[in-house]
Symmetry: C2
Subunit: 276 residues, 2 copies
């Protein structure tokens, strides 16, 4: 029950992880957060596992240097390929990714044991969601769909435009066609909660939609509780510091779409990880 006032570090390749930060801040209003978006090198979703591991190590080193009590990998691609490396490197600081909570929520939601996962190309290629789901439910049938265009649509803030609905139809209709269609859809990229309404309109109301931002926030809250590491600070709004590796202006502008509130450019500090 000791009040651990150290901040929680949150890391993403860019701004998409702000959907996770938004869920964390809503659930943990006592906590302080430090968010790092590696915007100079985004997106990670099209890069190799080795490259993503090297980038994620540099990025989380900055957070650990800021004295965080926990690191949240708010990036599906980095969670998929770098979680074990990061956990080993920063032990005893706990490192939590978005894959395991999303997989667990998908397993809890499905009735017919058929789960669809939407993700970036590299998350799909690494099969991290499929493996995490099948560890929990060995006979689960997992269909993975890479959705790179969704990333660009989310960054434009096109939550429900005709282009977004046409893209959702292109990616999703073949997945949910037929009698053996999945009954559960995991949004396996932090950008995708922004498009949740368009996705819901495309797949209909009978499909369970799992948002890995919400499920990760719940997992972080549990882990803080278990470790007795929750802050005893005042229950005011969560305080947040932002770091970005490129244009604070773009971070503030596009980030507002994902965080769901304004970000002042002056609150975003530019850092150079290549010097780390």
């Amino acid at each position: 029950m000791g009040g651990d006032g150290r901040p929680i570090g949150v890391f993403d390749s860019g701004m998409g992880g702000l959907t996770v930060l938004r869920a964390l801040a809503a659930r943990l209003p006592h906590e302080r957060f430090v968010y790092l978006g590696d915007t100079a090198r985004l997106p990670y979703g099209t890069k190799s596992a080795e490259t993503v591991q090297a980038y994620a190590l540099q990025a989380t080193q900055l957070l650990v240097g800021e004295g965080v009590k926990m690191v949240v990998i708010a990036c599906n691609t980095a969670s998929a390929v770098a979680l074990a490396v990061l956990q080993e490197s920063w032990d005893p600081v706990p490192v939590i990714g978005v894959i395991e909570p999303g997989a667990a929520a998908g397993v809890a939601a499905t009735k017919n044991k058929r789960i669809a996962v939407l993700a970036t190309e590299s998350t799909v290629q690494g099969r991290a969601y499929a493996r995490a789901i099948q560890r929990l439910m060995a006979d689960a049938d997992v269909v993975q769909q890479p959705c790179q265009v969704f990333v660009a649509l989310a960054e434009e803030g096109w939550a429900e435009t005709p282009a977004t609905l046409a893209t959702a139809k292109h990616y999703l209709e073949p997945l949910f066609d037929g009698d053996d269609a999945p009954d559960t859809l995991v949004l396996g990229c932090t950008h995708f909660p922004v498009l949740a309404n368009a996705i819901r309109r495309t797949v209909g109301t009978n499909i369970a939609l799992v948002d890995s931002a919400e499920t990760t926030a719940a997992a972080v809250a549990d882990a803080l509780e278990d470790a007795g590491a929750a802050s005893a600070g005042p229950a005011s709004n969560a305080s947040i510091r932002f770091f970005a590796t490129d244009s604070p202006e773009r971070f503030a502008r596009v980030g507002a779409i994902f965080l769901g509130r304004e970000i002042a450019v002056d609150d975003v500090e530019l850092v150079d990880l290549r010097k780390a």
Copy 2:
């Protein structure tokens, strides 16, 4: 008229520049080419001018090290912010970008002196096309439109899907609405020629479409001629070597969309520019 058999270096942040290489190889079948895609750090279009300059210097250093007789910056973003730096750094090796040829072709095509330019966010912010056009036609009226979703659509190979047409409508209809609409549209990103049919269907046949890949190939042919540096090799197919800074598999797969022919994975050599 001396046959200069050294290769021509072509550089892009990724695979989009292969539309320029395709136009070059078609126009200059005697020449050898070395293409470098900096895929580990793409896209450049959302990064700051300083970051793009640093990346472009590293990338072109590799090409100069390969003994090229000319460097073509087949990337609008790098041409917009890094051309002068590269020309100064690699003098006397000529460096040619895609902006000036595209601007000149736009100026040649317009009758009402109103030109629309489609580009990435950073090309638009740098106003490089607007400045290049207005240097040639001081009273030209230039409308710039950032089109990030087009990049993702082109990389999926969705040349003319409903999502592509809906996106084209979203970006383009407001530009060509009203009596004072532009009569000329410059495709100011090397990805966009892949979407030319969808763009044509959206804007109609009365708008002149300028493809900066074609216009750059013409400028390179002229520059070789002027310098007496054309190859006297046999008029066989142009020979091409490929370098990429990330996944040769993805380079070959997505690159085929832009090059318009198969690329064998074994023909793509992985290089690490961070060690340069």
